[in-house]
Symmetry: D2
Subunit: 392 residues, 4 copies
């Protein structure tokens, strides 16, 4: 009486991934979840190949996540003709060279944040990807949480009026204990890029930065003769957006008691929104109306009619952190499959570059004590779209 | 340069599932996620067969979730020798007969809530499963959210002292609109069993119930000539636990503005805990100490050292609703694979029965206006463990 | 260059007060504050006389609060022709006899809660006051916090639609420690009357009660040979309002961690409100509208256009607990001075009686295990208004 | 049977006040409340004289608040030999000259914030008061809310470890509506001084400031031909404290939805505190301990054992905004009466000066785009204590 299940005949998008640690886990989870959550759909990701430094670990990851093959040589993946998408979920220092090689090979590319450790490297990646005409994604996953997207949609629709000021913070305590490993790339690179991207995503380009950067904890480590290579534990910026609106942006790894608080408040002329990653499903929304009942409403952004939430569960069945990654990679694969743009909801390498430029302006401001203009965006080269294996 | 990934040689637990709708989606997601999240482990679930009423839909679910075969005849699954675990994620009215048949066939059984629509049917299931010696799970998924488990562990350890009183509520608004579909089995069956199970899980057995049950909305539907079959929209109970502690328990489908608020507060002699499903990662904990700093602390229960959280993501990378199901089914499969008990952290059919007995006491109390003693638990029959295919 | 300030020629309302402890302090503060906060106004309270049991203490209170004269014999105050208003802020056991005597003497009367320790005594007070035609106030001060009043106004205006269900709690921890003095009159009398009054004020009359009453802590005191006279530490009720809506009401003195949490949530067909005395300036309001932005808004009820707030400070300059008493007594004196009714915003002795009747129904229900009908309201006697000294 | 109340024979401190508007109301309320709340005590304030510009209004205020005499000529008050304390609660522009004259006349002086509209004027006041040896108070009332004081005490005691970073904001929406009156002295003077004082009170001196100042709304007014004299609507600063800790401080009058949100978070190496004026009784406290239960606790700072709360009401009977003023002026009068210092809990003119110096550094930084060192504190002149009428 059984029927044998017929094959899933949706078009496969073959993923080649670099990295098997935390981000490798999150991305693998996304690729394994997308096929049945984004249903029905025109495509399905296929975990084709994985690469990483340590043989035993990459082999284990291949079994664990179901990649068909593995290698310790990332060039093998990058040059693999069967790979459609190269996903760089590796350590920060491994972002540039493999991603550039993948672009050269005509792969569509997703890369974890920070896109690179310097704006110059970010620009190389951005220019290369645009020239080659491949789709590119900078993995700013928090754009893809429903509450964050709803905020963006409210702002775009003018529901909050003109945006007049904004505050963004990313506070963690992980660097607070001298015994605990801090972010090796420093707070600004590790989490600062997220908070800068949120500011750009929601309010727009940042024109000028006045910053203070301190490292009270790493200094103390240094006193104890420990070399950490960590030079920045907190960064605090007063900024001006291109629109003229002022803003505050800060990132800290020494905020005792704050586990993972990426939080912001944006004030417009007709309303305001506030959000906190530690309560990620809720958008606090205030809009001018009946002044007797003026106040911030706690909106649980998990209903079928909310953006990015409809494919998931039932009413107010909350989503978690990982859903940002899943929604993001589904969006990227859709762009790859259909040719639709990654922007504006997805972050491209241009966004990765802009975040780095703001970071570097902050470092320069902190060093000189001057307000620094953020560098002009790179001129966009003429795109030469890759002939896509996908189009076959 | 590639190596071909070797097979995942962990022992398979072959799942046969009934149901392809909301719960089918949640359970399938769990079985697909467990292999790489609970890693390494001694087993892996295999989506062997799925059954459901409508051919086109069950076929689609089989493709979507990756079941190997499908059928519209549930007996085929129940009698399938290759099936280790029968998971009944089907509609309420389909819980009893197929599950009983699966028990008869020596399958380990998981069944969605409510276990059955009467205590008598729950008892049949419980007695059958115990007699047959199979593992049985009543799918009270909220026990498996980290914050709920932490509360239970604090209580078990005596960290709150003697439990003196408790309040439990489950408030939804879905029945509030006469145009919207209410819970067909009524609020008490649909969500009342969850809130009763939370009360039993955290405070213990309920001895006596005084209840008020109303149906303001369905009455109005009736006035408009609509037959809904829904006789209960709210149930409010004042209860006494076996311990002597008093409690309040209520469930409502007409709580305008409340999407999915399963919430409780438990007060002990040395401390208290409070929780809300709409903020599911947070346990509010108060413990007597320095009285200047007395207050409820917001504990984000998502750290590596928290129960049920360590297998997941990084610090305060929040979990969502679905993680309850995933953790629950991983726990059940572990019990199946290792022979360890499902209780006390997992709910068994005994817990399903007890929830139904409390519900029936509430209905009786509401009908008669009297305080009603909850029926005594069923005598536990001598278990005759099934010879397990698994033990090979 | 100075001018001498002319006298305040507003009509004096001469207050005679019984009690110098906590409530005496709160009421005295109110009478001293009203003259300049409720400005300009037609009257001003004058602290004419105070009485209390202990000579040294009543003398000290007279100096401290500025009463013109004092006595340990309450009859002296009650019979004092110059007194317009008798304010009974004394201990519970002293509510009935002096208040009755003041009514007999034609005084307008305010009396702290509980109005009396039995419904029968409450009824004596209510009937006497009505017969004599004096104004009477039961001091349910929480009605006079702006957020509570706003909720009442929203409900009255139909802004929440039909009220479908409601939950009320009053949780304190003071009885939780065996070494600490509990409420001598028991939880139900001490704070239960407040929570019952809030329920009646906001939702309406209570028809039927099913209650559980426990005293886990006092029992333990009893075991240790301590006689406390406290027989009730928690009361939990499932109720039905006259409207047919269900409700939960509970009061507890053993809720560890809860200092003074009088809190409620009321769900209507078109919206809901929630409030907590521990955050007393905020009303949480949800009203159906744009479903994308559905949620409870935190309304700080402290703006010039909010009820009861306009006489006070500037925008969101929060009010405290004592402002309920000040607003309440100002309202009562206005009724005395102008002849306007105390009800419906102010609680009268009728409300004091009704609260006691609900309490007694709860005690009876707890004793018998039966759902108990709340006694019918007393027939209102024909009022024979006192010839008011005030009218001169 | 009556006894006539004997006079209150505590030593009178005779107050001469300038100003009858909002601050005049708040200060008068304080002086009228102190005698019976701070009981028993060595002194009692006496409302001796009031002055203000408009005859009708100052006369009305004298009647309303109970001042014995009044005048439109502030010099009459300043030179009045009977006055012990000159309280300047007048408009910003009237702070300097009358206060200087009062100092010259040997009066103890309290002055509302901002102390003066320039640091130079603040310094004149500070130096004059110190030289003359009178007590001086800058009315930073928020220091005297119990939750703020508790934070200071925790920090002083080292309970939070070394302070590593801090964020302070003061957000209002009053300037957001072009039809509504903004702060005439600008946001920085009006509310910026409060938030700067909180930062200094809790974390210490500010060494350097990088600021952005914008006025989006007043610009728009200007476009419409309205001259407002308001040049600053928002100020955002990244600062460094003397300790080396970084901070963010901002003030805004255009934060739509924020009524009166003075809020901060301070992170130390062993714990953190957070507070919000819109929930003023609560201090959120996190201290490292059992890491399973790590989180911010909501401490309601209203218990008898809490600082500044014991004189007031019962457990968790919340205080309001005005209690800051009452507690502050009681503290100041106590310093006047006993000779105890106003600092460190009370703000002196030195604190008023320092706030102005930080403000001016912010303006200079915004103008030049450079990080600006805050001016060095004024050298403290040798005090020449006034021969106090009080000491008699």
């Amino acid at each position: 009486m059984y029927e044998t299940t017929p094959p899933d005949d949706r078009r496969p998008l073959r993923i080649g991934m670099l990295g098997y640690a935390g981000m490798g886990k999150a991305h693998s989870n996304a690729y394994r979840t997308i096929p049945y959550i984004f249903w029905p759909g025109a495509f399905r990701p296929e975990l084709t190949a994985i690469t990483g430094r340590t043989e035993a670990k990459v082999r284990e990851a291949a079994i664990r996540y179901g990649f068909q093959r593995y290698t310790t040589d990332w060039r093998t993946v990058v040059e693999d003709d069967e790979i459609d998408v190269f996903d760089n979920a590796g350590p920060d220092a491994m972002h540039v060279e493999p991603t550039l090689a993948a672009i050269d090979a005509g792969k569509h590319v997703a890369c974890e944040k920070p896109l690179a450790l310097s704006a110059a490297d970010c620009e190389r990646l951005y220019v290369a990807a645009e020239r080659r005409g491949v789709k590119h994604l900078a993995c700013f996953n928090y754009r893809f949480l429903p509450a964050v997207r709803l905020a963006r949609e409210l702002i775009d629709a003018g529901d909050l009026g003109e945006i007049r000021e904004a505050r963004f913070r990313y506070s963690q305590e992980r660097g607070g204990d001298p015994e605990v490993s801090p972010w090796t790339a420093g707070t600004l690179n590790a989490i600062g890029c997220h908070v800068i991207d949120q500011a750009r995503f929601l309010v727009g380009e940042i024109a000028r930065v006045s910053a203070v950067i301190t490292s009270p904890v790493s200094d103390r480590r240094a006193e104890r003769g420990i070399e950490t290579g960590v030079r920045m534990d907190t960064v605090a910026m007063a900024v001006e957006f291109d629109s003229g609106a002022p803003g505050l942006i800060d990132a800290s790894s020494i905020a005792t008691g704050r586990k993972n608080q990426l939080a912001w408040e944006i004030n417009g002329s007709r309303g305001s929104v506030a959000w906190d990653l530690e309560d990620l499903n809720v958008l606090r929304v205030m809009r001018r109306g009946d002044r007797r009942l003026d106040g911030f409403a706690e909106v649980i952004v998990c209903e079928p009619w909310h953006p990015l939430a409809g494919v998931w569960w039932d009413t107010a069945h909350l989503l978690g952190w990982e859903h940002g990654h899943i929604n993001m990679l589904a969006h990227f694969l859709d762009a790859v499959a259909t040719g639709s743009p990654v922007a504006p909801y997805g972050a491209t390498f241009h966004d990765g570059l802009r975040a780095a430029q703001v970071s570097e302006a902050a470092v320069e401001s902190a060093r000189t004590g001057r307000r620094i203009e953020v560098a002009a965006p790179a001129a966009v080269p003429a795109a030469v779209p890759v002939t896509q294996a996908l189009s076959a």
